[in-house]
C-alpha cells in the first residue's frame, strides 16, 4: 500500500489524504480539501495526484456486476483492473476492445484518460467501447451516462481526468477472440520513412501496429527501428497458454538511475540488431505482445529516486514526417534518449471525450530519466516543435507541460471546466489552468 498516492513516474511527489472506498452505493466522503479519484496509479505525472487534498482510492471497488458470455457485455465496478477482466474473459473467448501497454489500469482510470492502444486505427479509443457508466458527484447525485443518455456528461467524463465526479461502475463491450494467441510479424526499418511506409501498408490488414525506434542514434541511423504488426490468431488446439509465470520484480529503488547515456546507447543498438533484416513471423501469447513490461514488477524503480518523465505527443498527418524527424533529431542530439520510444499512427476514428488525447496523426511516446533542468529544457524544446505543428501532448503522461500549451492542445478545456465537480481538483489541473 505504500505506493498509493504516487504516480507511475514517481515525479512529482505529492502529499494528500488517502480515502479508501469499498462500497459503490455510499456517498462520497466529506473532507476539508478537494477530491480526486485514484485507481491504480499508472498515470505517469500529476494527473492522478492532488497535492494538499484527498485521493478517493477506488481500487477496492473491484466487483464484477454481470457478464454475458454470448454478447460480450461486461459490467463491473470502476476499480476492476484490466488484468482481472482478461483473467475472467479470455478463457470464455473475449478480449478487451482496447488496451494500453499495461494491464494494471483500472476501468475508471481507462475512462478518465480515454486510453488507446495498438489498434487505434481500427477501434479508436477505449471510450468508444464504453456503453455506460454511473457518475457520482459530491452533491450526492448519480447519473447513468452513455452516448445517448446524459451524453454531455459522458463526453466530459471520458478523458475528463477524473474531474467530473467519481465513476462507480461501467458497462463495456468486449471483442471476440478465438483464444489467447497472437500472430505477429516483426520488420526492421532503417529510417523514419520506412516506418511510414510500413504503417500505410499494414493499417488495413492488421488490427495492431506499433513501432519501437532507436532514439540514441544520429546521422544515417536516425529514426531506425522495429515495426510490429499483429492480429488475434485463430484457435491453436495443440498449445496451452503458459500458466501464470512468476513475476520478476525490482525489489528496491537504486540510489541513482540505471538508465544513463551509456546504457541507453548500448541497449538501443543491441535491441535494433537483435532483429535480423527482413521479416520474422511468430505466434505469441497476448501477454508479452501487449504487456512486455508488466512481467517486471515496479520497473519504474530503475530510474532511481528522482523518477522519470514520460512524453507522449501526437502531430497531425500533414506535418508528421518533418515533425517526427525534428523531434528525434532533437532527442538524439541531447543524448538524453529513451529506451522505450514508441511510434504509432493513429487512425481517424473520432475520440468520444471532450478532452480525449488521440486524434489523427502520428504519436510518439518516450521516457526520460529525470535529470532536473536539462530534462525539463529538452521537453520544452519538444513542446515547441509539437505546438508549432498543431499537435498535442498526453495529460496522463505529463508532469510539466506549460499551461499555454495545454490550452492550445485542448481548446475545449474551458467548456469542459463547467462539468468539473466543484469539490474535485487535481495537481495537474491546477498546474495547467491556474
Amino acid at each position: 500500500m505504500s505506493d498509493v498516492g504516487q504516480s507511475w513516474g514517481r515525479y512529482p511527489r505529492a502529499s494528500q489524504i488517502i480515502v479508501p472506498l469499498s462500497d459503490r452505493h455510499a456517498a462520497l466522503p466529506v473532507v476539508s480539501g478537494t477530491l480526486l479519484p485514484y485507481g491504480n496509479g499508472r498515470s505517469y505525472g500529476d494527473s492522478c495526484l492532488n497535492d494538499g487534498g484527498a485521493l478517493l482510492h477506488g481500487r477496492h471497488l473491484d466487483r464484477f456486476i454481470s457478464f454475458d458470455a454470448q454478447t460480450g457485455v461486461l459490467e463491473c465496478e470502476a476499480g476492476v483492473l484490466f488484468s482481472e477482466i482478461l483473467d475472467l474473459v479470455v478463457p470464455q473467448g473475449w478480449f478487451l476492445p482496447v488496451t494500453p501497454g499495461t494491464k494494471f489500469v483500472t476501468v475508471g482510470g481507462a475512462i478518465a484518460n480515454d486510453v488507446h492502444g495498438k489498434n487505434h486505427h481500427k477501434a479508436g479509443t477505449f471510450g468508444r467501447h464504453v456503453l455506460a457508466f454511473e457518475l457520482l458527484r459530491s452533491d450526492g447525485s448519480r447519473r447513468m451516462c452513455s452516448p445517448e443518455q446524459h451524453a454531455e456528461w459522458f463526453a466530459a467524463t471520458v478523458g475528463g481526468l477524473g474531474l467530473t465526479g467519481m465513476v462507480t461502475r461501467a458497462t463495456i463491450q468486449l471483442r471476440r477472440v478465438a483464444g489467447p494467441w497472437m500472430s505477429c510479424e516483426v520488420h526492421r526499418f532503417g529510417g523514419l520513412d520506412g516506418f511510414f511506409q510500413l504503417s500505410q501498408a499494414s493499417d488495413r490488414d492488421f488490427e495492431y501496429t506499433v513501432a519501437w525506434i532507436d532514439c540514441a542514434s544520429q546521422g544515417k541511423a536516425l529514426g531506425r527501428g522495429i515495426f510490429t504488426r499483429a492480429n488475434h490468431a485463430p484457435a491453436h488446439p495443440d498449445s496451452r497458454p503458459n500458466a501464470a509465470s512468476s513475476r520478476l520484480r525490482v525489489p528496491l529503488t537504486p540510489p541513482i538511475s540505471l538508465i544513463n547515456p551509456l546504457s541507453l546507447r548500448a541497449f538501443n543498438t543491441l535491441y535494433y540488431h537483435r532483429q535480423r533484416d527482413g521479416v520474422s513471423h511468430l505466434t505469441t501469447h497476448y501477454e508479452p505482445h501487449f504487456y512486455p513490461l508488466d512481467g517486471i514488477g515496479d520497473w519504474n524503480r530503475i530510474y532511481g529516486p528522482r523518477g522519470f518523465m514520460q512524453y507522449q505527443c501526437v502531430v497531425p498527418p500533414g506535418a508528421s514526417f518533418a515533425c517526427m524527424e525534428a523531434l528525434v533529431k532533437t532527442i538524439a542530439a541531447s543524448g538524453q534518449g529513451s529506451f522505450l520510444a514508441v511510434l504509432k499512427q493513429f487512425g481517424d476514428i473520432a475520440s468520444p471525450g471532450t478532452l480525449s488525447f488521440p486524434r489523427p496523426g502520428t504519436t510518439l511516446a518516450l521516457d526520460f530519466p529525470h535529470r532536473g533542468a536539462d530534462t525539463l529544457a529538452l521537453l520544452d524544446r519538444l513542446d515547441d516543435i509539437v505546438a508549432a505543428a498543431g499537435g498535442a501532448v498526453y495529460p496522463a503522461k505529463d508532469a510539466r507541460m506549460p499551461g499555454k500549451y495545454f490550452k492550445q492542445y485542448f481548446p475545449a478545456w474551458e467548456s469542459f471546466s463547467h462539468y468539473i465537480d466543484p469539490k474535485f481538483s487535481s495537481s495537474f489541473w491546477r498546474r495547467v489552468t491556474e
Binding site: M1, D23, R24, R63, F64, S66, L88
Partner: protein, 245 residues
C-alpha cells in the same frame, strides 16, 4: 463441486476467500448482516464462476437465529464441504475499559457468537462425517496485550474452543482449521498506520484455501507470525509488564 458456507461474507478476508472458491465453480451460501452489500458480492461471485450463490442475513448476536440460517444452508446445499466463520469487529480497547456494556457486547460478537455457531455447526458436521470448519481467530488471541486485550480475550476463547472441537471431530473425519492472521489491510483496520508487517486480504485468502485443501489444523497467516508469536508468548511476565505492545 464444492459446497461452501461463509459467515461474515462481507468481510474483506471472507470476500477474497469466496472469490477463490467461486473460481473453482463452488456453490456458495453467504451469510452477513448487510443485505445490500451481500447482493453486490453475490453478483460478483456468480460472474467469477460460482455455480450458485445463496444469501442469508443474520445478526450474529441474535443466537436464536443461528439454527434458522444453518438449516437453510444445509437444506439448500445438501451437505457442506467447507464452512468459514469470518465475522468480527475490531473493538476500541479504551471504550471497552470504560464501559462494561461495550466490553461484554464486543466479547459476545467476537467470541460468544462464534462459539455458538461452532456448536451448532458441529452437530451438522458430526452427522455428515466429512468437511472442514475454518474459523478466523487472530494472533491477538495468543497473548493478551494492553492495546487490545478485550479482542484478544475473545479470540483466545475461540482458539481454545476450536482446539477442543478439533480433537472431538478428528475421529469423525471432520477437520477444524484455526486461522490466525496478523495485521491485515482491510476496511476494519482502515485507521491504522500500515507498515511492513501488514498483509493484503487476497494473500490471507490464498493461505486459508491452501490450509483447508491440505487439512491443516492451525495456521498463522502470513507464516512469519508463527515465530513472532512464539517469542511474544514466551516473554516472561516481569519483562512483559514493562513493555508496551
Amino acid at each position: 463441486m464444492q459446497k461452501v458456507v461463509i459467515i461474515g461474507a462481507t468481510s474483506a478476508i471472507a470476500e477474497a476467500t469466496a472469490r477463490l472458491y467461486a473460481a473453482r465453480g463452488a456453490q456458495l451460501f453467504l451469510v452477513a448482516r448487510n443485505a445490500a452489500r451481500l447482493q453486490d458480492i453475490a453478483a460478483d461471485l456468480r460472474v467469477r464462476g460460482s455455480q450458485e450463490v445463496f444469501q442469508a442475513t443474520l445478526e450474529v448476536n441474535e443466537l436464536h437465529e443461528h439454527a434458522r440460517v444453518l438449516d437453510a444452508a444445509w437444506s439448500l446445499l445438501g451437505h457442506v464441504d467447507f464452512a468459514l466463520i469470518a465475522h468480527g469487529t475490531l473493538p476500541d480497547q479504551t471504550q471497552c475499559e470504560a464501559s462494561v456494556d461495550t466490553a461484554m457486547h464486543e466479547f459476545a460478537t467476537n467470541g460468544g457468537s462464534t462459539i455458538a455457531l461452532l456448536t451448532a455447526m458441529a452437530l451438522r458436521f458430526e452427522a455428515q462425517r466429512t468437511g472442514t470448519i475454518a474459523i478466523i481467530s487472530s494472533v491477538a488471541g495468543d497473548r493478551g496485550r494492553q492495546s487490545n486485550y478485550l479482542y484478544g480475550a475473545a479470540k483466545a476463547a475461540v482458539t481454545a474452543f476450536a482446539s477442543g472441537l478439533r480433537q472431538r471431530m478428528a475421529k469423525l473425519g471432520v477437520n477444524v482449521l484455526t486461522i490466525k492472521p496478523g495485521f491485515v489491510d482491510t476496511p476494519m483496520t482502515r485507521d491504522f498506520k500500515k507498515g511492513a508487517l501488514w498483509a493484503k486480504p487476497e494473500g490471507i485468502a490464498r493461505g486459508i484455501v491452501r490450509a483447508a485443501d491440505r487439512g491443516r489444523s492451525v495456521v498463522y497467516l502470513p507464516g512469519f507470525w508463527l515465530p513472532i508469536m512464539l517469542i511474544i508468548r514466551h516473554i516472561p511476565e516481569f519483562v512483559f509488564k514493562r513493555i508496551k505492545l
